[in-house]
């Protein structure tokens, strides 16, 4: 479908687009970000300058980026998909050779004004490229092996690069994000069954490789898996963080200990309390009510995205929206599972809430694509 088929005459133009934005989505995103500011203010011990203020500024910048992307027609972005993918691959290679090392992995690239994590960019670029691919591919070829192999390679290439950093969490999220787009595009169930089967086999192999010469994961990663399976096994070492996170979360109870009253957070029992473990502070200070409210906000964002995708008759647009939604979903689902002891600690931030500019900027940019698709949908 070419841009002509978007029935341009019916697509809003100029400032009219402002009225056709998906406003509930913007409000929900802002609400989630506001929760983040509140929590960053709290974990900084009531100091706004430490984390909350920079985070607000970044959100403001991110919002600007989102609106800019939203005002540019979606077909323009679709045509940039391949370029975006190549740039992201290039950046991943740069990071491989010149990147900054942090937390035992090479992940960051210094752009001067921001520390960029190319793998974040890659998640969006991959979704765009796969959506564009299935937009281009005639429907009857979707499940043919050759045409399935192409997107698989497109997914595995960046996944491999991210794995060498090594960043298992992001690699998994990349595969899941790409997989969701393929699934939504209608690739046959059989392939997914095969991949899931292979995945189980792979996990088994990885676990068996432990302690051998061809060990597939770093020791710290195995340690995290151990800790996940039994946090009590090492309560003062690797398991300490997850145990303390669970204590913080559980001790919040129904109504929480009150704003800035979380003992676990205030007395520094919580690790990484302004980044990956910020959800535990929320759960401690606002209890089940606060934690469940945030979960609801997240679910509503996903819900509005899915509705927007269903409304959109353009294949690229709806696949893109679903991909972005899934990407966002995996962020918070993995993060929450991690701090609640349902998943191993993999270092995934809570989207829009955890302190950090790069991830938020990329997320808001991806929602800019969702808005653009929404504004410029065929009517």
């Amino acid at each position: 479908m070419s841009f002509l088929e978007y029935r341009i005459k019916m697509v809003p133009t100029g400032l009219q687009k402002f009225l056709h934005l998906n406003w509930p989505l913007i409000l929900l995103l802002t609400a989630v970000a506001a929760v983040g500011w509140l929590m960053l203010y709290s974990v900084a011990g009531g100091n706004i300058d430490t984390w909350a203020k920079p985070q607000m500024q970044r959100f403001g910048a991110g919002l600007g980026v989102m609106l800019f992307i939203a005002f540019v027609p979606i077909w323009f972005w679709r045509n940039l998909s391949a370029l975006a993918y190549l740039v992201a691959i290039g950046l991943l290679l740069v990071v491989e050779f010149f990147g900054h090392t942090g937390m035992g992995a090479q992940r960051w690239i210094n752009l001067g004004f921001i520390m960029l994590q190319p793998s974040e960019l890659m998640k969006v670029a991959l979704i765009m490229l796969l959506a564009a691919y299935y937009d281009w591919l005639p429907g009857d070829r979707t499940s043919r092996p050759v045409w399935v192999l192409v997107p698989v390679i497109l997914i595995l290439l960046p996944t491999a690069l991210v794995l060498t950093q090594p960043d298992l969490g992001t690699a998994l999220l990349l595969m899941l994000g790409g997989g969701v787009v393929m699934f939504c595009a209608g690739v046959s169930w059989i392939y997914f069954a095969v991949v899931i089967g292979a995945g189980i086999g792979l996990v088994a192999t990885v676990m068996l490789s432990r302690g051998t010469t061809w060990q597939l994961l770093h020791d710290y990663q195995f340690k995290r898996i151990d800790t996940f399976l039994d946090p009590g096994s090492d309560p003062l070492g690797a398991g300490y963080h997850i145990s303390q996170a669970k204590i913080a979360l559980g001790s919040g109870g129904w109504g929480g200990k009150g704003f800035m009253q979380g003992t676990q957070s205030r007395l520094n029992f919580l690790p990484e309390k302004h980044t990956d473990f910020i959800f535990t502070t929320l759960a401690e200070e606002f209890g089940f009510i606060g934690a469940f409210s945030l979960l609801t906000l997240y679910a509503l964002i996903i819900g509005f995205c899915v509705i927007s995708a269903l409304q959109n008759k353009d294949r690229f647009s709806s696949l893109l929206i679903l991909g972005v939604a899934a990407n966002f979903f995996f962020y918070f689902a993995v993060n929450m599972s991690m701090v609640m002891g349902l998943a191993p600690v993999v270092g995934v931030p809570l989207p829009l809430v955890s302190y950090g500019g790069s991830a938020m900027l990329v997320l808001l940019a991806s929602f800019g694509l969702v808005q653009s698709a929404h504004v410029h949908r065929p009517r």
């Binding site: 699934f183 979360l249 001790s251 007395l267 899915v306 689902a333």
Partner: protein, 647 residues
């Protein structure tokens, strides 16, 4: 490329179907997350809340003030001293080394100490206070306090530590405290959580150890909030502890000081007891040591000096030393023979200078012999042959029974360390101990306090008190606890016939006051407090027949270790006994020349408040005694005021 409408609609439907499936899956996951939240935050909340509280709240003990130890008049013997010290906290100090160098300008500190403290500070967490200097003078302490603004992270602190103001006088009685050790913890089945405090001070020996439970008190506690690093954030609440009870000893510190000084540099012990109550008035052991050294942590050199000294300053000879009592034992032999009825108070025995039994000759100390001797003369002139004979008549088992009745061969229960039982031998004892039968020679030796008989100065003093009073008085060291007097049990009679007891006492009177009494030169020349006593000279070596033939080598010519022990027991006033005393001077020579004068001085010191008046001494001795008293370096009685807790 154009696609047909049908194709487009087909794929769009495909997307929508899969999109709904995706949405459903995500909704399911959200439901799982919500359920997990509910499970942890609602169902398991109490359990997690408890864990969070355990994280946050620590309980710290507040050590109670240790009870004081005072003499019978309330003078402080062991107290708690404010210990001025300076601590530094790294995180407040910034550059620890620079701050310490500035501090070194105010208080004495070497570069080595500065380096050591800096390293120590770097080893601990930044908020842990490190002790820079301990036991500062008030002047140094105020200098630091005044200059606090220019010394970031440095803070002056006040703690309590044990101090013994009368240092050497009470070292053997009161002992000292020290930090609780692993060995202590293993030994004591004491669940007191105070013992878990690092370096908590407990009594190590002496009264400090044996009345530990009374002195220690009960711990208070405070609940504090800590952060993940263990830093104290605030105090939540506190419960004060109960201070330890104060103990008053029966000892009079002035008398004790007099006795200790009077013993001087000799290796000697002296015990003075109240004849009626058994109260220990003085219990000295010389030489002594300064217990404060042990509290502060004694240096290797000081400790080696104490352990290598052949006069054994660390040994508490008054209760721990077991000596042959020598002739001071003769009252026991006499009382046994009288009590058994084998002699009466006037029975006479001829002393030719030796006693022959079983083909062996046992010599009297007087080679020429005493001629005809009765009980009074036997004691007064200490005739050995008299006691050989009566001992053989009465037998060892009766002698041992009377010895035990007088407190020999048994442990006097005082709160002091290493109290010996001594040895009061009888036939069964020898069989059990040596697997040999008792022989007649053993009885002959025991009759004059040689052979197997071993007694401590404490036992000798108690024996004398019992002979003087005729009652089974019990030794007592604790006078009051928290100003409440410890009750004295009424002492039962020893059950001796009054005439027999009086005869023995009379014999002891003659020792001092008779014309030929062995201790006549050490008599008290004051009719209101005439003294009774008995000398003893205990051999510590065997005199061979060859040596006896060529003349016994006099003590002066022997090496110190081979000289005889000098002993003396006595009481006064004779007609109304109040104080009994025993003195043992190790390797001192003769009892009458060495031990008796010491005993007389201590007796007089007990009976007088202050230095004994010269009028109590025989006129010829007064000049010598006067200069002797003037040479004594006694502690100023007002130097240490009655102690009140300084906390």
């Amino acid at each position: 490329m154009r696609r047909s409408n049908r194709d487009t609609e087909e794929t769009a439907r495909q997307v929508n179907r899969r999109a709904l499936l995706m949405g459903g899956a995500m909704a399911a996951m959200v439901a799982v997350l919500g359920a997990r939240m509910r499970y942890m935050q609602v169902e398991q909340a109490d359990q997690f809340r408890l864990l969070a509280e355990e994280n946050r709240i620590n309980i710290r003990l507040i050590p109670p003030n240790r009870g004081l130890i005072q003499d019978r008049n309330g003078r402080l013997i062991a107290g708690n001293e404010q210990n001025y010290r300076v601590v530094i906290t790294r995180e407040d100090a910034g550059d620890v080394d620079a701050v310490l160098h500035r501090l070194a300008a105010l208080i004495p500190m070497t570069d080595d100490e500065i380096d050591k403290t800096t390293r120590e500070a770097l080893r601990h967490s930044p908020f842990v206070p490190i002790i820079v200097a301990d036991r500062l003078s008030w002047d140094d302490f105020s200098k630091v306090a005044l200059n606090a603004p220019s010394l970031p992270g440095v803070s002056p602190e006040v703690g309590l530590s044990r101090i013994y103001p009368l240092d050497t006088d009470f070292a053997h009685i009161v002992g000292y405290v020290g930090p609780v050790s692993e060995a202590d913890l293993a030994k004591l089945e004491d669940p007191d959580p105070l013992l878990q405090i690092p370096k908590f001070q407990i009594g190590k020996i002496g009264v400090e150890k044996w009345t530990e439970d009374t002195l220690r008190g009960r711990a208070g506690a405070k609940r504090i909030e800590v952060n993940a690093l263990g830093r104290v954030m605030r105090e939540l609440d506190r419960r004060e502890g109960v201070a330890g009870s104060d103990i008053r000893l029966t000892i009079d510190a002035a008398v004790q000081n007099f006795a200790q000084v009077r013993l001087g540099d000799d290796s000697a012990a002296a015990v003075a007891v109240d004849v009626q109550t058994g109260d220990i008035l003085a219990i000295a052991s010389a030489p002594s040591f300064d217990p404060n050294l042990f509290v502060r942590g004694i240096s290797q050199r000081d400790y080696a000096a104490l352990t290598e000294n052949d006069h054994r300053p660390l040994a508490n000879k008054s209760v721990q030393g077991a000596y042959p009592p020598g002739s001071t034992f003769k009252m026991v032999t006499a009382l046994a023979a009288l009590d058994a009825g084998v002699i009466d108070t006037e029975t006479s025995i001829r002393c030719p200078g030796y006693y022959e039994v079983g083909g062996r000759k046992f010599h009297c100390w007087k080679r020429a012999g005493h001629g005809t001797v009765n009980l009074k003369r036997g004691l007064a002139e200490s005739c050995d042959v008299y006691f050989y004979e009566i001992a053989q008549k009465v037998g060892i088992d009766k002698i041992a029974e009377i010895g035990r009745r007088l407190g020999l061969g048994g442990r006097h229960d005082l709160p002091m360390s290493a109290i010996t039982e001594g040895v009061m031998p009888d036939k069964a004892w020898k069989v059990a101990r040596y697997k040999k039968d008792w022989v007649i020679g053993d009885t002959i030796n025991a009759a004059i306090g040689q052979g197997y008989v071993l007694t401590s100065p404490l036992q000798l003093a108690m024996m004398t008190a019992r002979i003087a009073s005729g009652k089974a008085v019990q030794a007592r060291l604790i006078h009051m606890i928290d100003d409440k007097p410890v009750p004295i049990a009424e002492a039962p009679s020893l059950g001796f016939d009054a005439a027999n007891l009086a005869a023995v006492q009379r014999g002891m009177f003659e020792v001092m006051n008779g014309g030929n009494g062995t201790a006549r030169s050490a008599r008290i020349d004051d009719d209101t407090m005439l003294m009774a006593g008995k000398t003893g000279t205990a051999q510590v070596r065997n005199i061979s027949a060859a040596e006896r033939a060529s003349g016994v080598v006099s003590n002066d010519q022997l090496p110190w270790k081979s000289r005889d022990h000098a002993l003396f027991v006595g009481f006064a006033p004779f007609d109304n006994p109040r104080v009994a005393v025993s003195v043992v001077v190790e390797h001192g020579g003769g009892g009458s020349a060495v031990a008796a004068p010491i005993a007389r001085d201590i007796l007089l010191r007990c009976l007088h408040d202050g230095i004994p008046p010269l009028s109590a001494y025989p006129a010829a001795q007064r000049n010598r005694i006067d200069s002797q008293f003037k040479a004594m370096k006694l502690r100023d009685p007002d130097g240490v005021l009655p102690g009140k807790s300084q906390a």
